[in-house]
Symmetry: C2
Amino acid sequence: MARRLVIIGGDAAGMSAAAQARRMTSTGELEIVAFERSTRTSYAACGLPYLVGGFVKAPDSLVARTPQQHRANGIDVRTRHDVVAIDTQASAVTVRDLDAAAESTLRYDELLIGTGASGISPPWPGIDAHGVLQLRTLDDAAQVERLLGAGARRAVVVGAGYIGLEVAEGLLERGLAVTVVERLDAPMGAVLDADMAAGVAQAMRAAGIDLRLHTAVTGFTTVGGRVTAVETASGPFEADLVLIGLGVRPNVELARAAGIGVGAAGGILVDNHQRTDTPHIWAAGDCVESHHRVTGRSVVVALGTHANKQGRVAGTNIAGGEVTFGGVLGTAITRFKELEIARTGLTEQEAAAAGFDAIGVTTEALNRAHYFPDAQPMKIKIVAERGTGRLLGAQIVGGEGAGKRIDVFATALWNNMSVAEVGGMDLSYAPPFSPVWDPVLLAAGKSASSI
Amino acid sequence: MARRLVIIGGDAAGMSAAAQARRMTSTGELEIVAFERSTRTSYAACGLPYLVGGFVKAPDSLVARTPQQHRANGIDVRTRHDVVAIDTQASAVTVRDLDAAAESTLRYDELLIGTGASGISPPWPGIDAHGVLQLRTLDDAAQVERLLGAGARRAVVVGAGYIGLEVAEGLLERGLAVTVVERLDAPMGAVLDADMAAGVAQAMRAAGIDLRLHTAVTGFTTVGGRVTAVETASGPFEADLVLIGLGVRPNVELARAAGIGVGAAGGILVDNHQRTDTPHIWAAGDCVESHHRVTGRSVVVALGTHANKQGRVAGTNIAGGEVTFGGVLGTAITRFKELEIARTGLTEQEAAAAGFDAIGVTTEALNRAHYFPDAQPMKIKIVAERGTGRLLGAQIVGGEGAGKRIDVFATALWNNMSVAEVGGMDLSYAPPFSPVWDPVLLAAGKSASSI
């Protein structure tokens, strides 16, 4: 008789695990049942700001695989089904069929929790008003579209992190007047050092965004249930449309209620095989904590790229393989219009907080040979450990080709390189692609000679 | 009394060494005299094809530092001075002042040889004809400009390597009818595997180049001392202008005559401090052999990026510091119009020749999320060692953002990573920059599962 793998959550982590386990086993060996609360599976949430901005035309193109496609692949996907409890003693889940409003239980041999994360939604008065929303699902994007269609002209984005920045660009692109309200002193203030974030603020303002830093939201003014303004400690900002982009929090209630271990950072605890502390229960994606390779600590990083990798690791191990997840570095990238913004490892601020004796060195360089047309500047900040010269992190803000250079630093970090070693590497050079000293080498060399 | 550093060759390697030694010592401690045969120092030869193509407008912009600037920096640069002999017993060089046609000798405490390389120029009948040239100096570029001004319309480029490709693009850009004649079966045939080179051939032909592969040049037809055609085993190709791009050979005659060791690959032998086998004599740049980190062999790689690094290493050590050159990986990049072409480590062919049991796996991927506008394809070929899964090399051919991804593989190679490890790294992801599995991860993962 087939063993049964039950999956909670039909998005990146869950469906990657399902697809991987399916690749490795026959349906006679392993039955795979995946429960998903919404009507959709495997959609690219990261693409939503670009859908709102009109860069991506078809909402359906964000769906990597539909429930039908997963079913055709031998995975029993049940949408509009909400898992409401896990009974670890009985090895069974309780599932509510949202359309039939009926509950049932299903036994599992292996269980994968891929419950994801939810957008942070502070208890501000008026946050449930019409016109105030997050951008987490295709339905949210459709709602933005309806508000635009109904004549929304003034948007306020709350939070200047990744999503805030991307949504602000999108709404600007759609012709709205956009205000971005941020509690911290700088956009990307939680992920970039202040000196690097300054360039982002400059680009936002140059694009016409009314950027309000150090501004705390206190609530929303509503008229007839519709938002008309965002209230802040510095006064109100009129708005027909408010996008909340304050980051996410792992969905761990189900796991916690079942007695599965949750860590100090707020995510489900897993080992490098994606096993929880409870036999036959695995977890992956935005709901778990991951090993940070630089600090050695357990952290929550909600990113599709980790969800996919962890899902695949879990799926492989569930199907009898043996692979591990190597951990995270805190690598991330985004853009604001032409400006590319990327980071990996630790910022100077983060390094200090983690107890490192760190030094940050910033270098300005060009993305092409100085004599080549359209050479664009970039700033690279390298954070290194004093004494050892160990690379701890890097941040890049600049023009075309700047952002993806972060992957070189990520690879160097993955291998515990020193900045001096990085500065001597054999990286590619040709005038259309870099100066003879690539900005990465230049920045690493400057950092090495400052330690 | 000041020690004296004498430098032979005023280009990348020599002047990097000079500048670095100058940074670290006072003129009272170290006198630096640099002899350069031409009238120029520190010019970017790699930029010449883009000067010919009209992308770069001002020839002078290719000069990173003039002799005057070096002199103002405390380096005694003597242009139009040719070092004709090194007397290692007397620690002196014999120098010919080309303008005064006079010879003199100068003692050195330390000597750096940075004699560079010369373009390969086969003894084909007619190769000295007017209209047949190489593109190695600003004078060569000026000569191309004169030929274009005089009405040249049909160009033949001999050799489809880096320079051949770049010059062909440039001449095409200037409106010439361009034929490229290549002895091998594929463009970039010496540096890419055939399957990857196929995409380059396709792009060249699509751009209107008459690409003649497997075609051996035998000589040139001339009329009144001017070239009118390139003769090949497959017939003649009419030409008003012929560019020879057959690669370069280290200039080692001076060193060899002085009894300084030259290696089997044809370059001056140096250790990782850039010391030759002769006391107080150093060498750097296109004239030396370098340690290849993947094969462990001694190889000749003429690239400005190595010349700069090695010059700096030599300069530091000469000035009393202690640094080493880490070796080369064979990383290189170029473009043909929109197509980006890059490689690092070993091709499948090179790996087999070096005695590795290697497997090559090619992956097609996009440079952005599939739903993002203008997502462009790229091909990545990974070469790995069977059994161990050790990464041995990578090749990339594709659209925007494809080429520079080679640096991630270069960094991975530098650290002796396995393809499985590479496939699990935390690289950056956002829809405008990559699919959720970056092409690098995708290719590495596919390679890992093929071993």
